[in-house]
Symmetry: C2
Subunit: 200 residues, 2 copies
């Protein structure tokens, strides 16, 4: 139909969660239905692209020298929560349940996909453990093979280099508001293994 | 977390089909996971925004003086298919079942939403009916109150100004590959009303 529309649609289709139809719908929205929304979006993309850099300490998004969490003195510097990606960090922040610092690995170990320790931000983590007085490391990595492998790797390294640091992994089990009949069997198994004693 | 990220996410959230989570996912994809995809997307948005204009004849998207369909001499100029929006035109083109011209109204009549004949591209349609030798008008408007009202309006105008032009409306009924048990009752009613005789 139109070369520049095709090109735009192809790029939109590559964004996560968008398919052919939704890319077309968004392109037509921006070009025909609400053309006044195009310029502000382009400006916001440009601004965010220029201003947002990874925090040199933890790997979170940052607009200044450090990210908002590393700069916040009220956050507990003795706890570091290790996450695979920034969106995991955001989910934890939304819960409001954590007041320590973070470390973003930018992925999980996956020999099949060729992701070894060198591809992930482990060097930054070890540097922090040397320089900061960390007492606890919470591994908030997912309940799959890659998450498992990444946890084991960290445990191996830590047990020799920093045997004094407490290491824990987030709990797995039934999500809130759901029933056993809706859960897959890996989740059911995790829920059983992660059972907590109520009464001796 | 970050002002420019928040701003970008708010604008993405307003795009059709995107919610809070998908906007966040796309923003992080463009800024953190695949930052190399940001600049090409911005460029494609800018280019499409500059180059794509509505066709002055039919209202379809166009990159030149006229749109690709109005410029295509192999398309039947005696048939005009009236659609509500460009995405409807694209769906008809994808079907490959139509080889005439189009007219995009840019909406449907809706007194509740304050959309009267003046807000739609009726003036352009009447001008074409005067100037072009149109024989048939196919109304490809949806099966709802607004589509119904728009069809009646066109029928009223046409019956006095151009009583010689054939007027038809696309068929409604069961979609291909679906069963009656999956259809809503308006569709079932339309399918019954639109039944075709096989045998006298």
């Amino acid at each position: 139909m139109s070369e520049s529309l095709d090109k735009l649609q192809q790029l939109l289709k590559k964004l996560p969660g968008l398919g052919f139809r939704s890319a077309e719908r968004i392109a037509l929205h921006l070009l025909v239905e609400k053309p006044e929304t195009l310029a502000p979006l382009v400006e916001a993309l440009n601004r965010a692209g220029e201003q947002i850099k990874p925090c040199p300490v933890c790997g979170n998004l940052s607009e200044g020298e450090l990210c908002a969490i590393c700069e916040d003195d009220s956050r507990n510097p003795l706890q570091i929560c290790v996450v695979s990606q920034v969106s995991d960090l955001m989910a934890l922040e939304r819960s409001g349940a954590y007041r320590g610092r973070y470390h973003v690995l930018n992925g999980k170990l996956s020999p099949i996909q060729g992701i070894g320790p060198e591809q992930l931000n482990f060097a930054g983590l070890e540097k922090r453990l040397k320089e900061e007085a960390v007492e606890e490391l919470i591994l908030a990595l997912s309940n799959d093979i890659e998450g498992e492998a990444t946890c084991h790797y960290i445990q191996d390294r830590l047990s020799t280099s920093h045997p004094d640091i407490r290491l824990s992994r987030i709990g797995f089990g039934l999500p809130s508001g759901s029933g056993l009949n809706f859960a897959d069997s890996v989740t059911v198994r995790s829920a059983l293994e992660g059972r907590r004693l109520f009464h001796p």
